[in-house]
């Protein structure tokens, strides 16, 4: 809090001294936000973590020491060693290499399903909350029904309809998170639409769409970002659950959740099969969380 306060006041002074009659060169909003993000230590650590995972998955073919799928029953369930850095699984596959390739799938699942969920859920919630009335009642009863199912069950239904496969898992987990977004955004919109600045925008003759996108939704951002960082983790775990049920990534395809689920059977004899994928998921979620927190502050003019 302390250093942030100082930043604010120095920004104020900068504003005052820069108050010339000539229009000042405005730095773009994006650069401004990024600048503040980089001043936040937590966010920087988060960016490093996410960057590490992204580079590792992109460079998987270069970094992998073994094939991700070839089995070697002679070397099954070996602990970490010089030959197998993170040990091997129940079929003798190199865990290190599998996790590198698995990161590609898990990162994709986490990010894409959150994008799908947010892109569908946010407009539904915003429209439902902003317009209210019968539209709101009907939408929210529908959302109630979706929320009544556990997310994983909903995802199973969607995968069953769409068919098995990693892509469909992303869509399914995305759809399963739609009601969460819709409900969250609706709640925020309900309180924000009562603010006088929304009334003022209407009095000024702004269109509903402009009001929703420029005045209402930006003020719902904080809970949305926090929810999204958690939802990345939830999606990865849902995807793992689907994989476990044979509905997600199919057998030889490495995916963190699936590796974790498979390793569960050997937790007493070969704990590395659950420890390493578990740590990977943990750190990825931590990374997104830190960045999310930093982003929330950087996007809020009050805290930056």
């Amino acid at each position: 809090m302390g250093p942030e306060k100082l930043q604010t006041s120095s920004a104020l002074e900068a504003g005052t001294t820069g108050a010339a009659t000539t229009p000042r060169k405005k730095t773009s909003e994006f650069r401004e936000v990024f600048k503040y993000l980089l001043r936040n230590r937590g966010a920087v650590i988060g960016l490093i973590i996410i960057g590490f995972f992204i580079i590792a998955s992109l460079a998987a073919p270069l970094l992998a020491t073994h094939s991700a799928t070839s089995t070697s029953l002679a070397n099954r369930l070996q602990p970490a060693s010089g030959a197998h850095w993170l040990g091997t699984d129940e079929l003798g596959r190199d865990l290190y290499s599998r996790m590198l390739y698995g990161g590609r799938i898990s990162l994709n699942i986490g990010i894409i399903s959150v994008l799908i969920g947010a892109l569908l859920g946010v407009p539904i919630g915003a429209i439902s909350g902003y317009y209210g009335g019968k539209l709101d009642i009907i939408t929210q009863r529908f959302i109630d029904i979706m929320i009544a199912f556990p997310g994983i069950l909903l995802a199973i239904v969607v995968v069953t309809v769409l068919g098995v496969g990693v892509q469909n898992v992303m869509i399914a987990t995305g759809i399963a998170s739609v009601p969460i977004y819709a409900r969250l955004v609706r709640g925020s919109v309900l309180s924000i639409k009562e603010q006088s600045y929304v009334t003022a925008a209407r009095a000024a003759g702004l269109r509903d769409g402009t009001i929703i996108f420029k005045h209402v939704l930006p003020n719902c951002l904080a809970p949305l970002i926090v929810q999204s960082t958690f939802q990345i983790a939830t999606s990865i775990l849902w995807a793992a659950g689907l994989g476990f049920l044979g509905l997600g990534a199919q057998a030889p395809t490495p995916e963190w959740g699936a590796i974790l689920s498979n390793g569960r059977a050997y937790i007493r004899t070969a704990h590395h099969l659950t420890t390493f994928p578990g740590l990977a998921i943990l750190f990825m979620v931590l990374g997104f969380n830190l960045v999310g927190d930093g982003l929330r502050d950087a996007l809020d003019p009050k805290t930056r």
């Binding site: 104020l12 504003g15 005052t16 820069g18 108050a19 009659t21 229009p23 000042r24 405005k26 603010q195 006088s196 600045y197 009334t199 003022a200 925008a201 209407r202 009095a203 000024a204 003759g205 702004l206 269109r207 402009t210 420029k214 005045h215 930006p218 003020n219 996007l299 809020d300 003019p301 009050k302």
Partner: protein
């Protein structure tokens, strides 16, 4: 003054909010927030609407601008029916009619610089864009006593009084003719209140504005208003010229309100009229005169017959059986 046409003419305006109860949200009654209000505002004048909280004065302001829809009645702005206007037409009308809010803290979007908030409404109405919009936004801020560089500031960087200046600047940006000032100073420190009042008065002179000034502060109203309307339980009980109203209020409710204004000279002993009881619920207003439950001069007729707002011989308007004895 009455020879000119009114800027705003409100006829029998009503706003009833339904009370819904039970699982099926059945309407079991109505809160009669505004219940048959009529008045006219003439060019260049300040019409003050006074009354205690909950009497419907703010709701009246909002339904005049059609920010909420009226249940019944009509609003004419420059002889044009606001409630008959199409969506497109209403946008144009809103250029002419603006609102200043009570709470300057919630009246500004915390994520927009005040300059961009003002530019946005200029652009929406096609009045200016780009550098020109920037120029106009800064001009209007300067007109309201702020500085050019304030355009790049966010609302949280301003004090309450400055924020209210921004809110006023935003309302002025569209160059309106008529402004609803909904308790514009009651959320501000006393030391700032007079500054904002003076600003509103200066702007009225230089932009030829007409105000509907909503307030519960009778000493402020005495300073700014040309005419005063007193509301009680969703109804206008007295409308009159400021000087006459303050000299001799006719309605018992107005009399009690005026007796409550503190006097700066302690030597002056004033008779306070203290009303008994509370304001009745607007969901279940009393029969007859709405004020009869608390009126010190209550008569039998007050309990059954609703007094109408009628002109007296001197041309003042009051809704009271004492002034207009029923036939």
């Amino acid at each position: 003054m009455n020879a000119t046409l009114p800027v705003l003419s409100v006829r029998n305006l009503k706003k009833h909010f339904p009370i819904r109860t039970g699982v099926f949200s059945r309407v079991t009654g109505h809160v009669k927030a505004v219940d048959g209000v009529s008045f006219e505002i003439f060019p260049g004048e300040t019409f003050a609407l006074v009354g205690e909280s909950g009497c419907g004065k703010s709701t009246t302001g909002r339904i005049i601008l059609r920010l909420q829809n009226a249940t019944d009645g009509s609003v004419h702005f420059n002889q044009e029916d606001v409630y008959a206007a199409s969506f497109q037409r209403l946008r144009l009308l809103r250029k002419e009619m603006q609102i200043v809010f009570q709470d300057p803290y919630s009246a500004l979007n915390p994520r927009l610089t005040v300059g961009s908030a003002i530019r946005e409404i200029l652009q929406v109405h096609g009045l200016a864009s780009g550098a020109e919009a920037r120029e106009r936004a800064e001009d209007v801020l300067i007109r309201c006593g702020l500085e050019r560089y304030h355009a790049d500031r966010y609302p949280h960087e301003f004090s309450g009084g400055q924020r209210q200046r921004v809110v006023i600047a935003r309302a002025l940006a569209l160059d309106p003719r008529f402004i609803v000032a909904d308790e514009p100073i009651s959320a501000l420190d006393v030391s700032i209140q007079s500054q904002i009042i003076n600003l509103l008065e200066d702007l009225q002179d230089s932009f030829d504005l007409t105000y509907l000034f909503i307030s519960h502060d009778l000493s402020v109203v005495r300073h700014v208003a040309d005419r005063v309307g007193v509301m009680y339980l969703g109804k206008l009980v007295e409308v009159g010229d400021k000087a006459e109203f303050y000299r001799e209020p006719l309605h018992p409710y107005s009399q009690s309100l005026l007796s409550a204004i503190p006097v700066s000279d302690p030597a002056i002993k004033k008779k306070r009229i203290i009303l008994k009881g509370d304001v009745p619920s607007p969901a279940n207003p009393p029969a007859g005169c709405p004020f009869h439950t608390r009126c010190p001069h209550v008569m039998e007729v007050c309990r059954t017959v609703v007094p109408e707002l009628k002109a007296t011989a001197e041309g003042r308007h009051v809704a009271c059986h004492l002034v207009h004895p029923p036939a």
